[in-house]
Amino acid sequence: MKCEEYQTLIEEYADGMLDERAADRVTSHIAACADCAYFYKELDREQELFSRYQRDVEVTPVIWASIESRIREERAKRPTGIVSRLREQLAGIFAAPRLSPAFAAVLVMIAIGLTVFVMSRLNSTQAPDQVATNNPSNPPGVSSSAPPKSPAPPQPEPKPEGIENTERKPRIVPPRKQPSNTALTPAQLVQEAEQKYLTAIAMLSRDMNKRRSQLDPMMLARFDASLAEIDRTIKETRQVVKGNPDDPIALQYLLAAYSKKVDVLREMTNNNNDTNN
């Protein structure tokens, strides 16, 4: 080995980054080579000079005061309570697997699509009935009361119980929520989506279990860790949804967590296919 090559090793030796065997080789060479011994000495002197470098900068109380102020602003913006906790947890999960840029892009797209879809459905089910029923000027497709999959046909006003058909006099009926058999509630919407996700998850899991032995063990461990974390989130989010079935954010996160699980399983399968090809 030439002295030039030794110089790189001498630097690593000075950094304490060489194993015992390599360090022995370097010390033997330094003992036998005047140029490299000089280089090593110079490196030591450089380090000494650098250790005396003083910067024209200090950590002042003003810096912390600014940070503290910005943290307070940040906290004021955050939603409080369990929804916030779930949001942060989910954000962490999305950052967890770090699989591939393509996968990340797909996740983002799905998350956005899901959010738009669920929120639009939730908005439609939560929109005041008055607006939809009393405003015939709403052009088709603009009315927020019509769910996209099952448009509700005009329903006759149901008669209150106990009043026979014989009573034909016009009555003043106070505005009230019109029962709809076709518009899905948020809970029903989630149930429907949940069923679809569960079916997809079951299929993918079955497929994956058959191929587990062919997957790289380290990759498998990472996938399993991600899945375990997603399952935990699903469990916790479902509890929140159970207690608060109309909370749009909780519902949104539950669906996003299912979506995430589908994607991780899909990624596992794809990875397995790539390995085999």
């Binding site: 690593e12 450089e46 000079l49 005396r52 910067r55 912390w64």
Partner: protein
């Protein structure tokens, strides 16, 4: 991992938290304990601001970017996966913040690249005997030499030489492979050596 924290210049209110592991502080900060986050700042503020200053070369900017680093850390505390790597994680955020600043603000005019003629001049001149003056001059030379390194080399050099991070930690912070960072570090050292060589001579005892 228990780390003692320096209480120099701090109020006595912190005395009860003399020994706090990073993990404990993170857990408390995640629960909304501002005092815990303050202790994290107390512990890592100085190395972070030094690192950023070495990267951007300006005090006011280093202060501003240090604030940004800790605010981002606060916002993303729950995304920190391995609590034992708080310091590496903070340096990673600081690196991103510094790089964004360098990339988008184009402070070319603020960079003080060292002039080779000046090196020759110093090397030819008789060094003043006063140690303090000499140190001051050396500080300027090191700062300018750092500013003249390209960004990747400056990053690796600063993390290794001034912050004493291991190669593995630097790889995590920078996202570079270890062979690449070794190459960058070797080249950065060579450039820095060339620029501070006058101070390595016999006239400047260390």
């Amino acid at each position: 991992m228990i780390e003692a924290i320096s209480l120099v210049g701090q109020s006595s209110g912190h005395a009860g938290t003399l020994m706090n592991s990073s993990e404990e502080l993170i857990a408390r900060a995640r629960r909304g304990d501002d005092e815990a986050f303050r202790l994290i700042f107390d512990r890592y503020g100085r190395p972070i601001i030094s690192f950023i200053y070495d990267m951007v070369g300006r005090r006011d900017l280093a202060e501003e970017l240090t604030q940004e680093t800790f605010v981002r850390a606060y916002k993303n505390l729950k995304a920190l996966r391995d609590d034992t790597k708080l310091s590496t994680w903070l340096f990673g955020i600081a690196k991103n913040v510094a790089r964004e600043s360098l990339r988008y603000k184009h402070r070319e005019t603020d960079k003080v690249g060292i002039d080779d003629d000046r090196v020759i001049e110093i090397s030819d001149a008789k060094l003043p005997p006063d140690r303090e003056l000499l140190d001051k001059e050396l500080n300027g030379v090191i700062r300018d030499a750092l500013g003249a390194l390209d960004e990747d080399k400056r990053l690796v050099f600063t993390l290794k030489i001034f912050q004493q991070r291991s190669y593995e930690e630097i790889a995590e912070i920078t996202g570079s492979s270890i062979p690449k960072l070794k190459t960058d570090l070797h080249r950065a050292r060579a450039e820095m050596r060339r620029r501070i060589r006058p101070y390595l001579g016999a006239g400047y005892e260390v």
